[in-house]
């Protein structure tokens, strides 16, 4: 009789946890993006929104803890899955060209760590402010615009967000597969749906640095 490795012990279980935490992080991203878009409204709007988020420390920190936990699980499981697959082929092929490999799937291994590194930078940049030239606590509007007025920073954001898009596309598509959510009628729509959601989210996020770089968004006096 085979030793049962348990749900989390199996690669299936690990992938499912990545999918579930991925879904939570995805919903957070949707909220984050919608919040960001308020920058195109009245400049005071987004600052108000920042104050609103910080109104209750308990609420703020529980959300942050949940996200941190999801991120931790997502990364740990990803690392374990990656390690497992790495050891599954000890002798490598001399020539290896598996056909039809999903390009986004190939990028997951390095897009993940890069996104993680970017996230650290992003938090230091716009949440803690320690790597920001001109950070004002809860002055979200000017923080963002001043931050993106440094062109290299804006470009770094755009690149990282494009990577995130790839990551999201593959994640969104494959989570249906991983969770076993498959139906003959729905199956063919999984990829288009993933593309659509990815494009919307990426466009939403990227619109902000682009708007700053093109001068659509300007600093307001203060």
């Amino acid at each position: 009789m085979e030793k049962d490795v348990g749900l989390y012990g199996s690669t299936l279980g690990k992938k499912a946890l990545m999918a579930i935490t991925g879904i939570i992080l995805f919903f957070y991203l949707v909220g984050h993006m919608l919040g960001n878009l308020q920058i195109f409204l009245d400049p005071a709007q987004i600052d108000k929104y920042a104050h609103l988020l910080h109104a209750s420390a308990a609420f703020l920190w529980s959300v942050r803890l949940v996200l941190l936990f999801c991120l931790g699980v997502h990364i740990l499981a990803a690392f374990q899955v990656w390690w497992r697959s790495r050891t599954a082929r000890p002798v490598k092929y001399k020539v290896f060209n598996p056909p039809d490999v999903d390009y986004a799937a190939k990028t997951m291994v390095w897009s993940g760590p890069i996104i993680a590194a970017f996230l650290v930078y992003h938090l230091l940049h716009l949440t803690v402010g320690s790597v920001h030239p001109d950070y004002v606590h809860l002055g979200a509007y000017n923080n963002v615009i001043a931050g993106f007025q440094q062109t290299p920073v804006a470009i770094a954001y755009i690149v990282a967000l494009l990577l995130l898009a790839f990551h999201l596309y593959h994640g969104l598509w494959s989570l249906f597969q991983t969770m076993g959510w498959d139906h003959p009628k729905f199956g063919p729509w999984r990829r288009p749906l993933a593309v659509l959601l990815t494009v919307v989210i990426a466009a939403g996020f990227i619109s902000v640095p682009v708007a700053v770089m093109t001068g659509v968004l300007q600093l307001v006096g203060g």
Partner: protein, 255 residues
């Protein structure tokens, strides 16, 4: 036509193994890939060298015995094919071909292009069946199965167990193979009573063998000689989670 073949040679599991290069003239375009290797082997034997060992049997793409990697692609560049039905007319004069065995931790080397796929046997034995004691079956037509459902089961039952899915998966995963078996039996009403146990047992056995994880590369589906769909993997995942989380309570019935 003329070919250059760079073939992995390894005497046994303990040997380190290396590539050996052979030139072959007069390859006819009507030959199958294995017939081309037959010709090479006849030449090698006549020269007093040991022939290249490769697995093969039916040579009509159904037994699943043959298979190796040609220029990085399991079973070669033609889709829905095995090396025994890969014809030389699809190659060009002067082609340089690198032949390697399936490479995976769970498929230990036997010799040259032959690997040990007994991991598949152990997975199957763990639960890839319907326990139907001989003699206890009701009349065949007492179990009605809609045509579409029977065809869907057959789509997965077509898996020939060759191992190309493992060989072409960048992760060395066996998900397509296991998923195909689980989906085949899971689509049929006869397969429902053991569906949860089957998923649990087969997945546990698969994990024990040291195959990699599925990260949805989909190269398995692309190289599968029978075109088995990765939908089978989704079915396996669903059955496994249901079985693990709810004891299979909401499995069974309509699918």
């Amino acid at each position: 036509m003329k070919l250059t073949l760079e073939i992995w040679r390894q005497k046994d599991a303990n040997d380190k193994g290396h590539f050996e290069t052979y030139e072959l003239d007069n390859v006819s375009s009507h030959m199958s890939f294995l017939e081309m290797l037959d010709v090479l082997n006849q030449e090698l034997i006549e020269k007093g060298e040991e022939p290249v060992a490769f697995d093969h049997d039916c040579r009509e793409a159904i037994c699943g015995t043959c298979g190796f990697v040609i220029n990085g692609v399991a079973h070669g560049h033609m889709k829905r094919n095995t090396v025994c039905q890969l014809h030389m007319r699809t190659f060009k004069d002067g082609d340089h071909l690198v032949l390697e065995p399936w490479r995976a931790k769970a498929f230990p080397m036997v010799r040259d292009l032959i690997v040990d796929r007994s991991a598949f046997e152990r997975i199957q034995r763990a639960g890839g069946y319907i326990s139907a004691r001989t003699g206890s079956a009701p009349d065949a037509n007492s179990i009605l199965i809609p045509k579409e459902q029977a065809e869907a089961a057959l789509d997965f039952a077509e898996c020939i167990g060759c191992g190309a899915c493992v060989a072409s998966c960048p992760n060395g995963a066996a998900m397509l193979f296991v998923g195909a078996r689980i989906a085949h039996l899971g689509f049929l009403p006869q397969g429902q009573p053991e569906r949860a146990e089957r998923a649990k047992a087969m997945v546990a056995a698969m994990e024990q063998e040291g195959f990699g994880a599925c990260t949805n590369y989909t190269s398995c589906e692309a190289t599968c000689p029978k075109g088995v769909s990765i939908v089978g993997i989704a079915k396996m995942n669903k059955d496994y989670f249901n079985a693990k989380l709810f004891g299979g309570g909401n499995l069974g019935g309509k699918e």
